[in-house]
Amino acid sequence: MDFLGRYDLLGAFWVTVQLTVLSACGAVVLGIVLAAMRVSPVPLMRACGAAYVNVVRNTPLTLVIIGTSLGLYQTLGLTLASDTSTEFIDTNNFRLAVLGLALYTGTFVCEAIRSGVNAVPIGQAEAARAVGLRFGQVLRIVVLPQAIRSVVAPLASVLIALTKNTTIASAIGVAEASLLMKEMLENEGDKGILVFTVVAIGFVVLTLPVGVALGWLARRVGVKR
């Protein structure tokens, strides 16, 4: 096991954690906006929301991530880091990966929230409209808080999937856990199973508490009817 000391395993997993947390934040914001579009009374908004979700959700994540690098950066020239920085390539790729993961995961967050919105009884929105709240307020104050509470458990699954999906950032060279695993496998050919097991355990250590914590939270904030 002492060969592990030659590699920055914790550092690689730290990148994984950063990728996960940052893109989760982006995905939740995007997911709420998309869900609001998909339940809005404006047909154009609904159509745009549905089109985005259906296109992005059905595109393999590898394509989305490589698309951010090839399409947004190399073709369209979008840079997300200061290009005078010595770490420009690394920082830019990391941020492109966060963007890609958020754009992709946002569609799953949207669909989870939308199912939660549909689970809120219609009378809740009617009562909210009847007291004079405007559409945005009805959604923000009454419907979404109840919808999100009821989808904490499904959102935990989305977050766990996202954690594992961050490994795809290695496709554009982000130095997260799976890229290090690949490097270790190349250098330590005889210890393949061991390397593999260590990295797998690392992911379980990250995701298991997320599931337990959010399961507890789901019971805690669940709306009683």
Binding site: G123, Q124, A127, R129, L133, F135, Q137, V223, K224
Partner: protein, 250 residues
């Protein structure tokens, strides 16, 4: 009489409403003057709930006009929200906001719609909860209350907006029998205080006791429009006689 006083609180002219091919409201004309308590009776499926829900446009109508306090109902948007703020509504299924405490239910709209200061809204909210007799439940969530308590909280929530008119859509139909009285008592008090009310109900006792006027509907039409005394003792139409015969016989 000055023009302002002559303006009816609710005016419906030639209102038609379809659910698909079902004609649920047929050319309805109804005027509710300020301060009047109107009870709408009728067999289920007669369109009485739909009628109630068209007045704050929870159900849009297909033709005709509806005016609240002299102003035609606007289409969706901010203007409609402003009208709804002045029209209190109480639902059959209470519809208290399930994720908020009873007091927060009452305080929500005054703060978010009227811009009342939260402290002031809370004080007013506690007063209203005391008025409907559930001040000790202020910190609980709706699911922790009995049906009767929930409905009284819903009435307090509507009253918190100081509405010009109150709509009640079968407020006691989802209640256990022993809880009907506590809700009707609150409504009777409200009627006695001069609130303009339109009440869809099956409670004949309430209609006799508290109503100024009974409107009887059948098949989307207003069949009779009379005082409670006249309606219950001498219904003119066969439909009304049949209806009263069925519900008063047991």
């Amino acid at each position: 009489m000055p023009a302002a006083e002559a303006t009816p609180m609710i005016r419906m002219v030639g209102v038609d409403k379809f659910f698909g091919r079902l004609h649920v409201l047929r050319n309805i004309d109804l005027v509710v003057p300020r301060g009047q308590v109107v009870v709408v009776l009728g067999p289920s499926g007669s369109g009485k709930s739909t009628l109630c829900r068209t007045i704050n446009r929870l159900e849009p109508i297909d033709s005709g006009t509806i005016e609240v306090d002299g102003h035609p109902l606007p289409a969706e948007g901010r203007a409609l929200a402003r009208v709804r703020a002045d029209v209190g509504m109480v639902f059959q299924s209470f519809n208290l906001f399930a994720h908020k405490t009873v007091l927060d239910n009452v305080v929500l709209a005054p703060v978010k719609v009227r811009g009342t200061a939260p402290a002031q809204a809370r004080a007013a909210g506690m007063e209203l909860l005391a008025r409907v007799g559930i001040v000790d439940q202020a910190g609980k969530y709706p699911a922790q209350l009995s049906g009767g308590q929930q409905q009284r909280a819903a009435i307090a929530r509507a009253l918190a907006m100081r509405p010009k008119v109150m709509l009640f859509d079968e407020p006691t139909s989802a209640l256990d029998p022993e809880m009907v009285t506590e809700v009707l008592d609150v409504m009777t008090t409200l009627a006695g205080e001069g609130m303009t009310m339109l009440v869809v109900t099956h409670e004949m006792g309430f209609a006799r006791r508290a109503a100024d006027r009974v409107v009887f509907m059948a098949d989307g039409d207003i069949v009779e429009d009379a005082t409670p005394e006249d309606f219950f003792t001498a219904p003119r139409s066969a439909r009304a006689r049949d209806f009263l015969g069925k519900i008063l016989s047991h």
